[in-house]
């Protein structure tokens, strides 16, 4: 294997790195080689994507299937060699001095040191990257989140200290009222940080991490609360679920932005989006309208909003990646995101069984009926019904009563004997549903 000299990075299903708590993406560079020190026998990493985050320097291979990390905590120094006549035409490079263990692995507090060379093969701006790297190194954000999580909010203020102590002796959280009470207390304790946050946009940006942490914390509390509870009634569970969903949709801690990703923007956006839509897709039964995704996604991103064009471009890029979702355009022009796992046959089977229940046989189904039964948006339901019609499963009835779909009986009736009714066929089923209604 190429590089066991660097710790590996976990990647999401669509090839985005999984970030540490509090880690934020700062800069991306395509087509980058990482070369180990000169005296090392280790193999270099060729032509990957370099991601500078607040905590690590990540290298992800071209196909986005594996990646390696240099923890910034292990970085001792970084320098940008001056251009000389000798290296004028060579690719720009930046050297990073890191501490390493005696066997040559990069590690914090190592006894030895090693120089890793970052070679930029693409059309990149080495100075911008170097500047950002030094900025990140100086800010030492990895230390902040490595510290214990307790008392993150408004740390140092006496109020939060009291809250923290009272929290320990408090009654166990029971039911919605308990959650609400707990939330109320949290709100009070974080009121100050919220007020500060909303003073101006810059302040909000700097508080964004705390806000996400707050949301995450509340979610975890809710989760542990529900598992501890013995016999919660459905309504409580429902409202809890709702709160959880709300909080979950707060959570893109480090959204891909044009600033951080540059030319790689749409590509990285596509990967982030593929990860994001997984949950809403599951909930929506495998298909979700593009406009809905646009709203959900921007809500999750919070501040760094994307335009509809960006979203569309990101979705069209999916074709090039191995992601579990796809963009689909119906004949009508309605666009949806569909999970690849969802087979059309399944949808058709559901529609067929829906169209064969006695009421539907008698009066047909409207898109809104189907939307209710299938748990999807009416516009989508209509698309699926139309698809089932094209497939020959259904046929339409347009009248003053509106647009309805019926199970397709045309295929079963024999034109050479129009009075013949096959036993146990669809026509038979349809007739018996008519006689049932009287």
């Amino acid at each position: 294997m190429a590089a066991n000299w660097l710790p590996p990075v976990a990647l999401t299903a669509s090839g985005r790195p999984i970030f540490l708590p509090g880690e934020v993406e700062r800069y991306l560079l395509p087509a980058v080689d990482l070369e180990p020190g000169e005296n090392s026998a280790l193999l270099p990493l060729r032509s990957g994507l370099l991601v500078l985050t607040s905590h690590r320097l990540l290298w992800i291979d071209q196909s986005s299937t594996s990646g390696f990390a240099i923890p910034l905590a292990a970085v001792i120094n970084a320098f940008h060699p001056k251009k000389s006549i000798r290296n004028m035409f060579a690719s720009p490079r930046i050297c990073i001095q890191v501490s390493s263990s005696p066997d040559g692995r990069v590690a914090e507090n190592g006894t030895r040191s090693e120089v890793i060379t970052v070679v930029m093969r693409g059309k990149n701006d080495p100075d911008a990257f170097y500047g950002r790297l030094m900025e990140v190194l100086r800010s030492r954000q990895w230390e902040a989140s490595a510290a214990p999580e307790r008392g993150d909010f408004g740390s140092g203020s006496p109020e939060s200290a009291t809250v923290a102590t009272t929290e320990r002796v408090r009654m166990p959280v029971v039911g919605v009222s308990g959650i609400l009470r707990k939330e109320q207390e949290l709100w009070e304790s974080t009121d100050k940080s919220l007020q500060e946050a909303f003073q101006d946009l810059n302040a909000l940006m700097s508080k964004a991490k705390e806000m996400v942490q707050l949301a995450e914390k509340m979610r975890l509390k809710l989760l542990s609360g529900s598992s501890a509870q013995g016999n919660p009634n459905d309504e409580e569970m429902g409202s809890k679920q709702e709160i959880q969903d709300w909080l979950l949709s707060v959570g893109i801690a480090s959204p891909v932005t044009k600033e951080s990703a540059g030319a790689l923007y749409h590509q990285q956006l596509a990967r982030e989006l593929a990860d994001f839509v997984k949950m809403p897709l599951e909930k929506a039964g495998g298909m979700i309208a593009l406009v809905d995704v646009y709203c959900l996604y921007n809500r999750a991103r919070g501040t760094a909003l994307i335009s509809p064009e960006d979203l569309l471009q990101a979705c069209t890029l999916w074709k090039k990646f191995d992601v579990p979702v796809m963009l689909r355009k119906f004949d009508s022009g309605v666009m949806v995101i569909q999970s690849k796992a969802q087979r059309d046959e399944e949808v058709f089977a559901r529609i067929a069984s829906l169209a064969q229940n006695p009421d539907a046989l008698r009066t047909g189904i409207s898109p809104s009926d189907a939307a209710l039964t299938l748990g999807i948006a009416p516009a989508l339901a209509k698309e699926q019904l139309l698809a089932a019609e094209t497939k020959g499963l259904l046929c339409r009835d347009v009248s003053l009563d509106g647009f309805r779909f019926y199970i397709n009986l045309f295929t079963e009736i024999d034109p050479s004997d129009i009075y013949l009714i096959k036993n146990n066929g669809q026509v038979h089923l349809w007739l018996s549903s008519l006689s049932m209604s009287g």
């Binding site: 047909g364 046929c395 339409r396 045309f410 295929t411 050479s416 009075y419």
Partner: protein
């Protein structure tokens, strides 16, 4: 199941999609076939030769389920019959359609057969006698459309099977069957 006059309607006449022109190709083909069959058997049983697209036609609406065929659908179904030689447009505007539950050639054969079975060889009948006389009562020829009958007879004349001659008035136009 309801009846239209003495015509027994098939069960699926109460199926609402029957009255909406289906957009999907395979489904439409099936639908057109059923309608062709329905129109021919209805017209045959009711001795209907002409369908006016702009007039009410009992088969084209179903008051029980409150559905009726659009003008477009009527034209599609009748055109399908025309394409098979089972109907003919009477005008360029496709407002009137002659239904041929027997094709022209089949009518010709029918007449020859009728003549033979009844021993009318070498005898003379007027057009009106064929259409409403006692001789043809109970046969398909009773009530046949005048225009259609003349076309069939002209076809037979070309083949030398009959001779048409003019009478003093249109009603007296006659035909002599050859042996």
């Amino acid at each position: 199941m309801e009846r239209l006059g003495d015509f027994k309607l098939p069960q699926f006449f109460n199926y609402p999609p029957l009255f909406t022109l289906q957009p999907v190709k395979e489904t439409r083909e099936k639908q057109v076939q059923l309608w062709k069959e329905l129109i021919l058997s209805y017209c045959r049983s009711q001795k209907i030769f002409l369908i006016g697209l702009e007039e009410d036609f009992p088969l084209f609406s179903n008051p029980v389920i409150e559905r009726s065929l659009s003008h477009e659908a009527r034209e599609v179904f009748l055109s399908a019959l025309v394409n098979e030689g089972r109907a003919e447009w009477m005008d360029k505007g496709h407002r009137k359609c002659l239904i041929l539950w027997l094709r022209i050639q089949e009518w010709a054969d029918y007449i020859l057969n009728f003549v033979k079975e009844n021993g009318f060889e070498d005898s003379v009948m007027t057009i009106e006698e064929i259409r409403s006389g006692v001789e043809t009562r109970g046969t398909e020829l009773a009530g046949i459309d005048r225009g259609l009958l003349l076309r069939v007879l002209r076809l037979l004349e070309q083949k030398g099977k009959v001779a048409i001659f003019k009478g003093t008035s249109a009603d007296d136009d006659g035909v002599k069957f050859s042996a």
